[in-house]
Symmetry: D2
Subunit: 342 residues, 4 copies
């Protein structure tokens, strides 16, 4: 059976990545693509790399007939997303890639995003989209909130460790190195090639990055008590990739065993041999996440390194993985493509 889907916000990077992935999915058809400011254009004009595909012309959201749509991917900016989703048919399955439904508590949302949430009914209903940890809820969900790409990376490194109680909870440091596509197709000076190439810098320091809200929510829930991590993202001159270097107190061997056990049956999470660490080029363009554990020379200290592609496993790949579950497809369909290297 073929499922019909729509993608709202198809002119951004996560929208285009969804098209790229779905083009290789045997049971999903793209029925509609929206991009309000580029309505009327062909995708081949907006993204020439998709020229070989037969795709619907870009349209405005209000031009879409949702009656024939089985599932809708929402790749809109946050705040826009809650406005749009609150007006979509109540029975339509939705995978949202924005930040709007990630935080369950409306106060948390307002704290981190600076505006009151205007779609609280949907917020209550939404399931947090970290597939490997919310699989059953996602299968039954109508609305799934895709996670932040940084938030996903940090959680893959840490959730099993917090759950198993094998690391200290009060001195976790997540130092993250993020490629530039995570910032989207936005026209900002610091995202220009001339500004970014050959240089790199930390940003949103001191725990001010919005994905920290997800860490707080999830880690505290697992631990059963408030957990706050230190988190510093860095902008790296590369297009795709996130690498999290996570410093924890805890025995490295225990940390390693815990991660191996947690991910033994996961098709996309790969724990490397003990003592080795991955690079972002190992997962570029794929839905895989590689994790390594290294013992520090300082007794009782360990380092966990996790990498994934922010546009795939960190965003659109995750979204398709969740959609597969919601549509009754095999979870991995369309997502087993190998990374691109070099």
């Amino acid at each position: 059976m073929t499922h019909k889907i729509a993608i709202l916000g198809a002119s951004g990077y996560t929208g285009a990545e969804l098209v790229r992935l779905i083009a290789g999915h045997p049971n999903i058809d793209i029925a509609a693509l929206s991009a309000d400011r580029k309505a009327g254009m062909e995708m081949a004009q907006v993204f020439p790399f998709l020229r070989h595909l037969s795709l619907p012309t870009l349209c405005r959201i209000d031009e879409i007939d949702f009656s024939g749509i089985d599932l809708c991917f929402c790749a809109l900016p946050h705040k826009t997303s809650q406005d749009v989703i609150s007006k979509l048919p109540e029975t339509l399955k939705i995978v949202d890639l924005s930040a709007d439904f990630r935080l369950r508590d409306p106060d948390d949302y307002e704290t981190w995003y600076g505006n009151p949430h205007t779609a609280q009914a949907q917020q209550t209903e939404a399931v947090y989209g970290l597939t490997e940890f919310y699989r059953d809820d996602i299968r039954a969900a109508r609305l799934v909130a895709g996670t932040g790409c940084n938030a996903a990376t940090g959680q893959f490194a840490l959730r099993p460790l917090i759950a198993a109680g094998v690391i200290g909870l009060d001195d976790i440091v997540i130092d993250m190195k993020c490629a530039v596509s995570g910032a989207g197709r936005s026209l900002k000076e610091n995202l220009l090639h001339a500004e970014l190439s050959e240089g790199y810098n930390a940003y949103a320091l001191g725990g001010t990055h919005r994905h920290v809200g997800e860490f707080d929510q999830e880690f505290s829930q697992i631990a059963g008590r408030p957990v706050q991590v230190q988190f510093t993202p860095h902008l790296i001159p590369a297009n795709r990739g996130i690498l999290a270097t996570v410093y924890v107190s805890g025995e490295a061997e225990k940390v390693y065993e815990t991660l191996c056990a947690a991910y033994a049956d996961e098709p996309f999470l790969c724990v490397l041999p003990f003592g080795t660490a991955p690079g972002t080029h190992d997962v570029r363009g794929s839905n895989f996440c590689h994790i390594g554990v290294v013992k520090d020379r300082i007794a009782g200290r360990s380092i966990v390194v996790a990498v994934l592609d922010n546009l795939t496993k960190g965003s659109s790949g995750q979204a398709l993985q969740n959609a597969n579950l919601m549509l009754g497809e095999k979870e991995t369909t369309g997502l087993m493509g190998a990374p691109l290297f070099p």
Copy 2:
């Protein structure tokens, strides 16, 4: 029916690209992978990005039992390739990715490569592997010689034009911009990141690049008289991609119509709207070749721009396309993956 194949020289970029592509092919199994200096290692050690695949351990060529192999990809350096291929079973189907069997005339080979050919029987037998122009011969061939990646790009831009007689033959200029993976995984100073990043240069100027031999052979054959082009390759700080800017005398409209007609039914060759030109990021990681035609302000002068990914359409993708034909598979199987952007 599943075909069993072997890849000789699996520790280089074209070998790894073959593995990446074949991993997505439903009817081909990788039965053996050789890499003499890395025999005994797992591919995951040599190419961690392939870690998620179950692959044979790397072995020496003499350890392979070719009796169960349907087709062998040879991704060895030139000269080594002719030695190895001359000793392989005479009934084994072979796709060679080296330069050893591209030139039909042994004297031409010696001229361009500096050493006498030591496998002239196989050289005589080999079919030139530019699929779109040698399709029937390839289907029937035992040994197919993959083309040079630069040679393929230039030919896609020019063959139909020479055949149709719509351009002058004595003032063709091919200015080519080549990404670094075309040089392979070789340890040379000028291929280091610190040397190449942020800089670019011409090399092999004046018609000394070995792929010129292929241009001479093919263009002269089509034209029915000697044709020599000017060809300058440039090394660009990017990993994948070739862009050929081809300057010809001839009416741009005629040039455009001729290319459109020639490639109308080709699944991988895409002629852009008249007056527009492609970029290498439009085809990265894919088997597509995009071609644009622009009219110059100088009457009777035209520019043709062609792009492809040197490791895919320029090498391993072409090899798989040819193997599909030789094995009776659909030509496009395993090769329709969309490019990766950004």
Copy 3:
């Protein structure tokens, strides 16, 4: 004696490059820096790499007292530049880095830039700023028009050859590879790191790039008859650099001797050993231009390759070189810094 200068448009790349260069000039003081939209900010906020310098706060142009200024650099966008310059004191020495005064004929200006010139008095007065060829005029000039960066590169390769009559005039091809800073600090999608890195493309094909107007004007003047070249610029994923590959008919040895003779006493123009070609990394961040000549295998055909840094020799370095002449300083002062490699 110390000269006081102002820089109008100091928040762009050429403005910042002027500051960088002048910081190392012993006899020039920066008295004023304007940037209308960023007036009131410190340069350290706009360009943190200049933090170590004591610089005037950015101001609006109308806040500058020009009475104490010896020379004014104008690094404003074209069209804005002619408006501003027509209102500056008539005795103020000016080096303009925009396109507004490069074309001597107002009709040519309108043809290439699409709007009538509104400061024709100044246009008549302006001297074309290609130092090596207009040195005496520049020394005596009040207003010097900096050349286009591409235009400079092509002219360094070709002017002596046209003047000496050693090449054909009707089949010149200039294939140019341009780094991204040539496009300035403009917020355009195709200049984003995610769009440009790892990819490259031709643009302004067919002779439509505005710098072609400069080629036409200068080459025709030298030749004493109309000369039109074919010119294709390409956008390369690097921050600084221009490389021109120039295809000409003419004996390579003659071409070489002519360039050697022309540039024998030039401090910034370096002709490489015959048969070798330069890379952009050889001149990055410097005021040098390297030129190589190679003989093609086709009799009577030659290739000239010229490289320079678009922001230095192609723009701000050239501007300072001209200012040195206009102020009675030694031409090379502040400009002999070595390139940065790697």
Copy 4:
């Protein structure tokens, strides 16, 4: 007065960077350049970017007459350096850029470098070359040991804090992001453009990087008791730059004041406004080090970010700064060049 210097190991990146810097020094002449494997070649062949300079031909070390040399820079690999230096004239002033004389204790040297030290007399004599903290000793020294580039970056962030007792000593984490030129001009697969560009990874994890020996030595000495930090370097796809993100316990305001006070009179060390952090592009190609301090949301936790150019302030710039002191020159001569941006 002009000083004559020699550079041993002039064919590597730090050697070339020394030449670049010294070319702008008014009182230092380069009398000899050695490079054993490239002896007989001109620097212009090995480093075409230095083509405009008149430089001695590369020679073997044993061809140098040291009697007229005032100071010798040693830019050789470690281990080679100790062999060579132990045989140089005993009165010759030396600035060594290798790792051989950084660790004062021969056992420490053997622990970190795996071989016994063979020039222990010189090891005893050598002064640690972190100029800002060993200035008086350096002025009087005969042999100065240049620091590791990572070691310098971490120490600029931390030394004043440890000395002032404003941070905890048992939970310091230094997460470092290193550009590729720090690895030198070595032919290794992971340093190829095709492997590194667009990807990044941690390496030498768990406290195994050799520069950790310098941290241990220096921090313990300042603290008056053993101090061990956690240190993870990462290889970033850029040519120049080191960025250290340092996580400490301590009040951010105190940390900030301490660094401001310590560096108030330092010409090359710049503390940014409180709450802001630098990028590596702010210091590229220069001898400056920028440092920022940010308060974490977690009470009592602070982040210090330090950046410098590994080839300049982290190596050859530091070496020239030390040489200036040893030769009685002004410390900053030849080193005040602005960074290159973009």
